[in-house]
Subunit: 131 residues, 2 copies
DNA sequence: TTTTTATTTAGTAATGATTATCATTATACT
DNA sequence: AGTATAATGATAATCATTACTAAATAAAAA
């Protein structure tokens, strides 16, 4: 009784895996078409949703409201998000001790992954007039 | 040379402070009108943006893409976010040690606040057919 | 293999939160 | 007061995402 997985979902996972970088739905759509995969944008969204519910991929909603997807891996990334320009800088370490997370695995909630995001002003936006 | 702050911004802060709960822009707009404050929705958005850039309030973008605002305080909250139904359960402790965060205060990025979010399936959605 | 049924898909319209625009009003400065 | 600057309201525009519908594909039954 294995998980049924449509063609489009396989293609999506394939691209996400070789990327090893988060990507938004529309760029992913372009990447798939470039590879020659023939699928529509709505199908990409559907596939992403299904994979998200399986716990296979994770979603990060950026300050601009758009979602970025990536396969869930131990080497997850966190970001410094600028509230000025909206850009995100990747961090290469996670300040969370693994054992600190365990209590949250319980209480009737199956945790797939976590996100830790920092918000503030990047150097560029610090030296800039607000508008 | 103190910070200039418009009437609308004062009203927004006032409501956010008495709330002590995150709220989205449109509900905030309704709350302000109910108090008798006369301002438009666009002004609410403008005020929230300005206060965000000041580092006075924080924004959390929910999985559905809408933003929730609250005053930045030491007693910040984290959530368990269900990837199924989108509901958020508040946690009452932060697993992050304060000293673990200090390194991220440096490197040309002024950190106002952080968010730590857990994603997975709530008990209801675990016992439900995917659709 | 044909027929039947359920699933998947593409294309596109609809949605909804947020942002841009622009004319108007309030505020600051001389 | 008179002019420059900033703030505001109303509403149109934007844009990622979702809903919808009909067609295509796959799976199951006969």
């Amino acid at each position: 009784m294995s998980v049924k997985r449509s063609n489009s979902q396989k293609q999506i996972i394939s691209v996400l895996k070789e990327l090893k970088e988060e990507i938004n739905a529309q760029d992913l759509y372009v990447k798939l078409r470039q590879r020659g995969d023939k699928l529509g944008l709505a199908t990409v969204y559907r596939g992403l949703k299904a994979l998200k519910l399986e716990g296979t991929i994770q979603e990060r909603v950026s300050p601009t409201g758009e979602s970025f997807y990536s396969v869930i891996s131990k080497e997850h990334q966190h970001h410094l998000n600028c509230v000025g320009c909206g850009r995100s800088l990747s961090l290469d370490t996670c300040p969370l001790e693994q054992q600190a997370l365990e209590p949250y695995q319980a209480e009737n909630f199956k945790v797939f992954y976590h996100t830790l995001e920092f918000f503030g002003l990047c150097s560029v936006c610090q030296n800039q007039q607000p508008n």
